[in-house]
Amino acid sequence: MLLSVRVGMLRGAVHKLRTRLLSTKGGVTDGLADAETIFALSSGHGRCGVAVVRVSGPASAAALRGMAGITRGLPPPRTALLHSIRDPQSKEVLDRGLVLWFPAPNSFTGEDSVEFHIHGGPAVITSVLQALGSVPGMRPAEAGEFTRRAFQAGKLGLTEVEGLGDLIHAETEAQRRQALRQMSGELGRLYQDWSHRLKRCLAHVEAFIDFSEDELIEDGVLNQVDRSVCDLQAEIKRHLMDERRGERLRSGVQVVIAGATNAGKSSLLNTLCQRPAAIVSPIAGTTRDVVETALDIGGFPVLLSDTAGVRDSTDLVEREGVRRARERMQQADLTLVVVDCAQLPCDAQRAADFLQEHLRSVLATEEQPDTVFSADKCLLVLNKTDLLPEDGRLTLERELRRVPGLPPICLVSCHTSEGLQGFLTELHGRVKTLCGNPLTGDPTLTQARHRAHLQQCTAALAQYHRYRDGDLALAAEGLRLALTSLGRITGRVGAEEILDIIFKDFCIGK
């Protein structure tokens, strides 16, 4: 399954590539080839003074006029001009920055292109990307699509072409990892579930089309499909609305503070953000929901979440808090497991065993009770060192560092700020590695892409209802389109898979 998901995604990416290559074979772009205009944040994410948003494709000029509020003509080619950047619909000013116009063929991609050099804040970038997305004929670029278009336009030399194969490999690998990251969470389960249900709907409609004249397939099959499609439509619509509020994929490195109750997790959060963001009390179970704070650690965006202490509780609210804590840990790039070091056994070996066991109980999930925590995904924070004698602390640190299989360990006291500097250095290093990894995708773009596919999916489901009674072939076409859209997120579904469901669910025997 995993493999086919990947291959499906790869195909999507490569198809585009080939279309373009073939269509520009004679040096002339034929109008029917990729008429889509793409845009993306071209500068990396993380803190930066200036961000560059690039647009390429036939609608570039329209985007430039709309965004820069130019009513007549176009700016001189390849000249930086200072302009207000506006939302083309609401005319609201989003930022003030440089615009550059690169008419075809003298651009990186060989197509009409535009660059917007805007201020580097996340709010500005997001609003500009959203505004571009609202221009007709524009869509967010797939990973590496600019380079591909350049390749197709013959803008890259032979050696660069050779390198492109490897680049695409890296990109698709990144897409796969990114997809896996999202797919392993709740969102992934949701999309998979939709895809599965939709596949079933399509299989049942196809069975009705291909076999009902000769076989016992009752009309009831279609009524069931009608209901399922309605449910799906409602769920996807609700999801699209929810996503705006807070369920969105978060930008930045996600760091989660987890551990047993009263280990000092909230204190760590407050220490890190230097303000009382979370309520701290000596009562176990004070934090019941996830408390989030956006932080800047050494120039890198971090979303820090404090979670409820993990313990078995009869309190319904607290149990929900623990569930959310576990869910958040699964999505985290980095988990800080906080341990009250006064709870540790004195003997170093027994302390190590205790920590192993503790990590397992904190990080375990219901689905994977025997989860093996990966050392590069977590950091052990032994808090309350002020409660230990000086030499005991040093021995503990020395002994524990020798134990193989434990994640890196920091000893801190949130109370006295002792060891905090070392901890911050360690954290900074980890965040830097995570951000600097070129394979970490840009979540804003991923999210925009998901939205676009989900919207196409609901539109296609509407087509099912429109033709359900008049023309089942066109209704099925609607389901196919919907599945294709969803497949862009979850992986492609082939005709054979549909046939498999048909033969599993129906006795077909003409």
Partner: protein, 681 residues
């Protein structure tokens, strides 16, 4: 058309004897082995393309026999019949001649998935096919058994390890040919099963084919084969059936012909025969279980079709259910019925016990018991898109030998193999048929790029561009190409299709020229129930998309503009509804077509190719040897990076297009000019 046929049929027996004894030649362009659905279409198509063709079959009088069900077409299969007809194949016209019960399946589900179908009179079908073949110019029919394929060194200028040079018949007589098409159906190492008895053969009553042929394919040519099974039901004596216990299923009141050339079928509407439907009972399941230990065929784990299973596998896989049994007439004068859905291989006495558990068959008599067949097929991934064996120049395979099931699937491959074999023999440039333009293309592409694990049958859901590949427009999709590019279509059919195409275009233009505001539409045609909230202007074509609107309604509202096109009213309605959807698909279709035009040389050495490909990818490419870049992308395990490298390689070695310019293209251009002047007239 049909009356002419009657005269020809009268001299039919005479022709058989004359043709059969008339074989003097030692050399042909194309030899077709086998006289089933694949073989007959192949032979006729090769002759139409211009090849001197020989059809060799064990018995001339079984040419065109319907070995299993007496019916043609259906959902998915009907599309194939329409496409075969559009390419001037035989089976559509044969169906119109032999049909005794016509119906369009899926009538309420949309024109893209309509399934034209007919019950056939076996006798009439065979007569038609035989008469058609015997009257085909450049085609000779010979009765005989092929003992061996003659194979020699390959032509070094073309890819492949062997080259076929002809066949050896029984009695050591050899006949040479540039191309040989094998359509041996279930006869390749075929064995028949009834109960616990097994005997060699491919069909009851026919001699088994020679072991020499299997030997050549497997040993001399090194082809990989697999084994499949199928079966056929017992034939029931009609008078012994209690029809009062079955549900009557009448045919369509007005039979729709398969062929684009026919306006009516031979069978008059009122002369059509009905079908009957009955259901299995728990008793059927009991008999199956009781006789299981006596049933060799069902105990073997050879792959059988999931969609044409025996009654044994149906009740074993879905126990406790009622299964449908269709009682189909075998012909106008036949005393037999064909019980569709009761294919079985248990001993004959158990077969009788089983059918009598079915209400309408409680006192039925069996005329011939059902039986199973197991046979070898050649893994079709070893074929190129022209259905030629990749490693053997001039050897083409079509039909069940490629792992398919069904008359229509066999006929489709036969026609294509015949066209390809003839073009290869006559040194004409190769041609392609894409999955974006036809079900035949889907069938061939699925076979050669995915292979088969069970008998392959056509479904509409296999065609990703189903909305464009409709039964109604098969002529527009294929007849023009069939004449201009493939050379297998007569000029008579071609000019008729040109007329149809031009009229449809004019009619659509006329529809678009009618533009009214929504208010005026409501005034002019209150019946169409246009929403009061609509204020925009709409063309006649827009309005024709409404469920409530027919072309006839529009024509009576605008008689001057539209009445000349009344003969196309149904096609215009379908066009209006589907055109927007097809336009959406066009981009995707063009992408696939371009990929398919990027040929990968067949003799490429993937292991020494100087580009960076992983060993794994090289092995896959070497094993499958995709013929185009499009086929390569559909392979499991091929990475996008590999595709980029391949693309780059193909681009730099200049091997881009499958087709090369030649005198045939020039001819085609002349035709286009002719065509253009025709349009002006």
């Amino acid at each position: 058309m049909l009356t002419k046929r009657l005269h020809r049929l009268q001299g039919f027996l005479l022709l058989v004897s004359r043709r059969a004894s008339n074989v003097a030649k030692q050399q042909y362009d194309v030899i077709v082995v086998g006289g089933g659905h694949a073989g007959t279409e192949a032979a006729a198509a090769a002759a139409r393309v211009g090849a001197e063709t020989l059809l060799v079959t064990q018995k001339i009088h079984t040419i065109g026999a319907l070995s299993c069900n007496p019916s043609l077409g259906g959902v998915g299969k009907g599309q194939l019949v329409k496409e075969l007809d559009a390419l001037d194949g035989l089976c559509g016209r044969a169906g119109d001649w032999a049909g005794i019960h016509f119906s369009i399946l899926n009538r309420r589900k949309g024109p893209a998935v309509w399934g034209p179908r007919a019950q056939l009179d076996r006798q009439r079908y065979r007569e038609f096919i035989q008469s058609e073949l015997l009257g085909t110019h450049r085609l000779t029919v010979l009765e005989g058994s092929v003992e061996e394929l003659l194979v020699t060194e390959p032509n070094p200028e073309k890819p492949g390890c062997h080259r076929v040079t002809g066949i050896r018949l029984g009695g050591s007589r050899s006949i040479s040919a540039s191309s040989v098409v094998l359509t041996t159906g279930t006869f390749l190492s075929g064995s028949l099963f009834v109960g616990q008895t097994t005997s060699p053969g491919g069909r009851i009553g026919d001699a088994p084919s020679s072991a020499g042929l299997s030997h050549t394919l497997r040993e001399a040519l090194g082809l990989r084969t697999g084994r499949l099974r199928t079966g056929t039901p017992p034939r029931i004596v009609k008078d012994s059936v209690d029809f009062s216990q079955a549900e009557l299923h009448p045919p369509d009141e007005r039979p729709s012909p398969f062929s684009f050339l026919n306006t009516h079928t031979r069978c008059k509407p009122e002369e059509q025969l009905p079908c009957h439907l009955t259901l299995t009972t728990p008793g059927v399941e009991r008999v199956v279980r009781e006789s299981l230990h006596l049933n060799c065929h069902i105990q073997q784990d050879t792959k059988g079709p999931r969609y044409c299973p025996s009654i044994e596998s149906r009740v074993l896989r879905f126990p406790g259910r009622k299964h449908q049994v269709w009682l189909e007439p075998e012909g106008v004068t036949s005393d037999l019925l064909y019980p569709q859905g009761l294919s079985m291989t248990m001993p004959p006495d158990a077969q009788l016990r089983l059918i009598r558990e079915i209400p309408a068959l409680h006192r039925a008599e069996i005329h011939t018991p059902g039986y199973g067949v197991q046979y070898d097929f050649v893994c079709p991934t070893q074929l190129d898109p022209s259905l030629q064996v990749k490693n053997t120049q001039g050897l083409f395979l079509a039909g069940q030998i490629n792992g398919t099931t069904g008359y229509e699937e066999a006929a489709a491959q036969g026609l294509w193999a015949g066209v390809s074999a003839a073009r290869s023999a006559l040194a004409m440039p190769p041609v392609t048929l894409s999955r974006t333009e036809s079900y035949i293309g889907v069938l061939i592409d699925d076979l050669i790029s995915r292979g088969v694990t069970e008998p392959y049958r056509m479904f509409t859901s296999r065609a990703e561009f189903r909305t464009a590949l409709r039964p109604d427009n098969a002529d527009l999709r294929l007849t023009l190409k069939g004449f201009e590019e493939l050379g297998c279509v007569s000029s008579q059919r071609y000019y008729e299709t040109v007329r149809v195409r031009d009229s449809l275009r004019d009619a659509l233009e006329a529809l678009q020229s009618i533009v009214l505001s929504a208010a005026n539409w409501r005034k002019k045609m209150p019946d169409i129930l246009m929403s009061e909230n609509k204020f925009t202007s709409l063309s006649g074509q827009d309005v024709l998309q409404y469920n409530t609107v027919s072309f006839e309604m529009l024509a009576s509202a605008f008689p001057d503009t539209l009445s000349p096109y009344m003969e196309f009213s149904q096609r215009l309605k379908i066009e209006a509804v589907y055109r927007p959807h097809c336009d959406l698909q066009r981009k995707e279709i063009e992408r696939i077509q371009k990929e398919e035009n990027m040929a990968l040389p067949q003799d490429i050495d993937y292991f020494s190719l100087p580009v960076s490909l992983s060993q794994e990818v090289r092995e896959i490419l070497d094993r499958v040897r995709p013929s185009t870049l499009g086929a390569a992308t559909r392979l499991q395990g091929i990475t996008p990076a590999a595709i980029v490298h391949l693309l780059n390689y193909v681009r730099h070695t200049g091997q881009k297009e499958t087709r090369t310019h030649s005198k045939y293209d020039k001819n085609r251009e002349e035709l286009h000019t002719e065509n253009a002047s025709l349009v002006k007239l």
